[in-house]
Amino acid sequence: MINELAVISGKGGTGKSSITAAFATISENRVVLADCDVDAANLHIIMEPEIEFTEVYISGEKAKIDHQICKNCGVCQDYCRFDAITFTEGKYSIDEISCDGCKLCERVCPVKAISMEKSDKSRMHSGNFRNGKMVYGRLEPGEENSGKLVAMVRNRCREIAGQEQIDTILIDSPPGIGCAVISSISGVNYVLIVTEPSMSALSDLERTLQLLEGFSLEKGVAINKHDLSPELTERIIDFCNSKGVGIVGKIPFNPEVVEAMINSKSIVEWNPLSNVSKEIVKIWENITK
């Protein structure tokens, strides 16, 4: 059976990717690693994968008006609910940022002046890294449907895991609580929530746990940089206790984590004896036993 483990956080910058990288290099067995933060993928910087395959991901479509055909009737603008059709300098045009790709303007245009163009600049890469296989998505900046690209990354991971007989898939999730996060955790076996001792992180953790209530998933919380605020760490522990969510570990603040990243290593590779490495190993053993 394939085990899928997702590392999420709500708040950005709490240390998801550094912890995922450490997990990926602790395991004696090979893993399939998925970077699902398709907006701002970073794990490849530490893992330096050799890319074997690159696939095009169609994130959606945008409408385009052919001004040779357009009769300036304005019907498209009346129907568009995304305020994506503007009328300036005597002609109608599509505002690409606002266009949602619903195709309604194309369908209602009486003279067929509107067509849809595919957004095909996003990519999905897969290949080898030093402890297994890695898949990561690269959403073209500004494009939509990151949740669908996440689903595509995860499908590819399952395929590879099957072919290569690897039984662990590690998922580095995006921040937030929107579609990409939902897509990165649905159906996984375990969710590790990485938080840090701050009011902002606590408020984000509350919303993350609310989101997880909709899923029946096994989960635990790790408090990263816990010694930066013992007071907030206590509050987070109390909050988790009140919600019945277990604390699986408390990781100290240590600038060595940044040093490791600069050297394209995970913290457990860079210094297996550091207090951070020891705690991460403990967490890994805890959640995989």
Partner: protein, 288 residues
């Protein structure tokens, strides 16, 4: 109104730290300014101020409902739906709307020839106004947990912002929520950290802003913690480094408790004053 977005590709670089402290600096100068929290998935800015909730407005979206007594199960609405949010199975007399997939474009209502589709409002989140006696005004977009996209909520928050100067605390990333926020802004400050992750995400953000033609500059937060890759990149690309904030455990600790770091720290306050001056020089029309 002049609008400044504080953004970053990478999460957790200090967007909210910069926007709340910069905002506090502007209101201490007596500027009529508003802070708009556009990170509707995880809004946090308001918690740094002692403001009270003034009003909250619901943000909704239209979703279709199908009257099965009028539906002929022709499937046209399903064909017209670009989001796979409608399922029609004629043999089973089944017509179903998956509301969480619906974007509210209205195509299905136009498609239906039998008058079987009407629309109702679905809650996406809220836009909340906070303020206090000292002239502090905060607008917060707050997504309902479980809703797929924050874009309609953050757009409404932006459209509910009125002042001489607005600071937008942007959502992280480089996809649609970020784009909608910077698209509504006149000037963008990118906050990054001096690490390879910070640099990678900074480059992505810079690429978009250059494509959009938005003027911007960069703040390096937690300087001293990483290496010089971001500094070298900025120099090479001729990008303005408008401020550097050194890493300081004490600042991190104050921030973690929900306190404004400029209060009671003259050195940091002077840095933010200098940032505010540089920004007003760029804007024109607003004097400190």
């Amino acid at each position: 109104m002049f609008k400044i977005a504080v953004a970053s590709g990478k999460g957790g670089t200090g967007k909210t730290f910069v926007s709340t402290n910069l905002y506090q600096t502007f209101i201490e100068y007596g500027i009529n300014a508003v802070l708009t929290d556009c990170d509707a998935e995880e809004p946090n800015a308001a918690s740094f101020f002692k403001t009270e909730l003034i009003e909250s407005k619901q943000v909704t979206q239209k979703v279709p409902q199908i009257d099965s007594s009028k539906c002929l199960f022709c499937g046209k609405c399903q064909d017209w739906c670009a989001y796979n949010a409608i399922l029609i199975i004629k043999e089973r007399g089944l017509s179903r709307v998956m509301e969480e997939l619906c974007h509210g474009c209205g195509a299905c209502s136009v498609a239906c020839e039998n008058g079987a589709i009407t629309e109702k409002e679905m809650l996406l989140g809220e836009v909340i106004n906070f303020s206090d006696n000292s002239g502090c005004k905060i607008v917060e977009g707050r997504l309902k947990v479980g809703v797929y996209t924050p874009v309609p909520v953050l757009k409404r928050a932006i459209n509910s912002t009125y002042a001489d100067l607005a600071i937008f605390d942007s959502p992280p990333g480089t996809s649609c929520p970020f784009i909608h926020t910077v698209n509504a802004s006149d000037y963008v400050i990118l906050v990054t950290e001096p690490t390879p992750f910070g640099l990678n995400d900074l480059k992505l953000s810079v690429e978009i802003l250059q494509k959009m033609g938005r003027p911007f500059s960069v703040i390096i937060n937690r300087a001293g913690l990483g290496n010089r890759v971001v500094h070298d990149y900025l120099k090479r690309e001729n990008i303005e480094l408008i401020m550097e904030i050194p890493f300081d455990k004490e600042i991190a600790s104050a921030y973690s408790k929900g306190k404004l770091a400029v209060s009671g720290r003259p050195l940091l306050a002077a840095k933010f004053s200098s940032l505010a001056r540089k920004l007003t020089d760029k804007i024109g029309g607003i004097a400190l």
